[in-house]
Amino acid sequence: MAAGDPHVSWNLLADLGDLLRFPFMVHAYAAGTVAAVTAAVLGWFTVLRRQSFAAHTLAVAAFPGAAAALWLGIGASWGYFGFAGGAAVLIGLAPGGGNRRFGGSSAVVGLVQAGALAAGYLFVSLHGGNLNGITALLFGSFLGITSGQVVTLTVLALVALGVVAMIGRPLLFASVDPVVAEARGIPVRLLSIGFLLLLGIATAEVVAITGTLLVFALLIMPVATAQLLTLRPGPGLALAIGLAVASTWAGLTVAYYTPYPVGFFITSITFALYVGAHLVRALAERAGGAPGTPGDVAAGTRP
């Protein structure tokens, strides 16, 4: 995939120089780092709120956005963020969309998702049907990231993280116990829509690296891995960010030296970490120190 048929010399400095020789790799590392940090923070709330299906849908919505942007000849970033944001509002406003345990709502989410993919396929078909382009949009490609895109990704990530820092506490409260939060006067529904919008930004960032279909690799898996190892929010969040960034760097590096897509390597690395965390947990439980049930972060957030 990379130019000049590179190979690993195991001389670390030489390899590093080789990796960063091309601007596209520097851009890929920068964009990947930004996306991984944003994804881990928003992913942490997503797992807490059990909205991973909605996250997947937002990522899927980015695909027609990018396809439409290609068809109309405007920047792909506009398409990514516009469509992911639009889908976030749509899911948030849909009847029962905020209610996560409602069977009908997952049908609505699924419909939005399939509709988005069908529209994306239509746009690519209207554009003239470059089928390799579809594969890159769906499964990620780190070759085409420009310095302008890196700037856009960084600015949007800073905005999203800033908003999370501001609404973090009420959002945590509303996520853990929506009924009590509502009674205390916290605008739960507004927070829910706001969170979906932020999640839209985060997924659009990840989509730029892993492609539409593999966002779980950076958005959910590092968080799920971290939560298997610790239930305390602070260390858990830090661990999730660390895992996401490390996986992205490792995936990009391996992809540079092999002819296979980066999406495969990032998903495989984060999935291996997730399975490894399950094993560690199983061993710890056998030793007697069970740190609680997986996914029950609420237990760790209460004073």
Binding site: A107, G115, A118, I134, T135
Partner: protein, 287 residues
């Protein structure tokens, strides 16, 4: 995929082409099976499972292609196996969102690897095969594939009708059904296997990525139109078939419109229409 012989398609010639006849027959069988299975998928809140299976279908088909086999072998083997696996792993045959999501992201990643392997080994062909699996190629079915698709669709539909009553009971109130002696867990597993078969079959029609609309839209629309579960089940099957046929006609009349996009668009319009027509959702089985 949508290469049409006629430059200006006339509605009268609709059934003059073999590929259109094949698409109508296979499409009806696949849609009927999807609509019936989809009703229970929505009722049991397993839309996410159906979605995960459709992604597995992609990897299965490309693994078979990379190994030089018929993609259908990979499709069915992968979806049924993973459906059963999800059923065994999850409590009461319902797996956790994060577990399913993580597994299917990795499975898709594997699919991309197989796509890479296949593309490298068959340098003459580009990633058309991958796109066909993802978005379906219902206008590309030959007579043999149509027969197989129709037979499997009919078999799945019959199976769903046969277990409809106990499955309904087990889905709505698993605890009471268990107490009455119904094999709830076995039913759940058998049902997931059926979803696996449908996922593999529907992949040929609308593609792995659009499968979820064929599963969810008719069921969600039907449940808004009637409160009685068995009537909603039948209606869900009918709506799926009608929507698929309407989509095929639409794709035939508008050559640039891919058939799978047309089918999804029609199904979405049907659902939105039911939402608009029935202001207050009735106390149906899904509400």
């Amino acid at each position: 995929m949508t290469v049409l012989a006629a430059a200006t398609p006339a509605l009268g010639d609709l059934l003059a082409y073999d590929f259109m006849r094949h698409a109508f027959v296979a499409g009806a069988a696949i849609a009927l099976a999807s609509g019936l299975v989809g009703f229970f998928v929505v009722l049991r809140a397993q839309v996410f499972t159906g979605d995960a299976l459709s992604h597995v279908a992609f990897t299965g088909a490309l693994a078979a292609l990379a190994a030089g086999l018929d993609p259908r072998i990979g499709l069915f083997a992968a979806t049924i196996l993973v459906a059963l696996l999800l059923g065994v792993l999850g409590p009461q045959g319902r797996a956790d969102d994060v577990v399913i999501g993580s597994v299917f992201a990795w499975v898709l990643g594997l699919g991309v690897l197989f796509l890479g392997l296949f593309t490298r080994n068959h340098s003459g062909r580009n990633s058309t095969a991958g796109v066909a699996v993802l978005f379906g190629s219902i206008f590309g079915l030959d007579a043999g594939q149509t027969t197989v698709a129709a037979a499997i669709g009919a078999a799945v539909a019959l199976a769903v009708v046969a277990v409809a009553r106990p499955l309904l009971f087990a889905s709505v109130d698993p605890a009471v059904a268990e107490a009455r002696g119904l094999p709830v867990r076995a039913l759940g597993l058998a049902f997931l296997a059926l979803v696996g078969v449908v996922a593999a079959e529907a992949t040929q029609a609308v593609g792995a990525l659009l499968l979820v609309s064929l599963l969810a839209a008719p069921a969600a629309a039907a449940s808004r139109l009637t409160a009685r579960p068995l009537r909603a089940l039948a209606l869900s099957g009918l709506l799926a078939v009608a929507g698929t046929w309407a989509g095929l006609v639409l794709a035939y009349l508008v050559p640039r419109l891919p058939p799978s996009s047309a089918i999804v668009a029609v199904l979405a319009v049907v659902y939105l229409a039911t939402v608009a027509l029935t202001r207050e959702p009735r106390r149906g089985p899904l509400h």
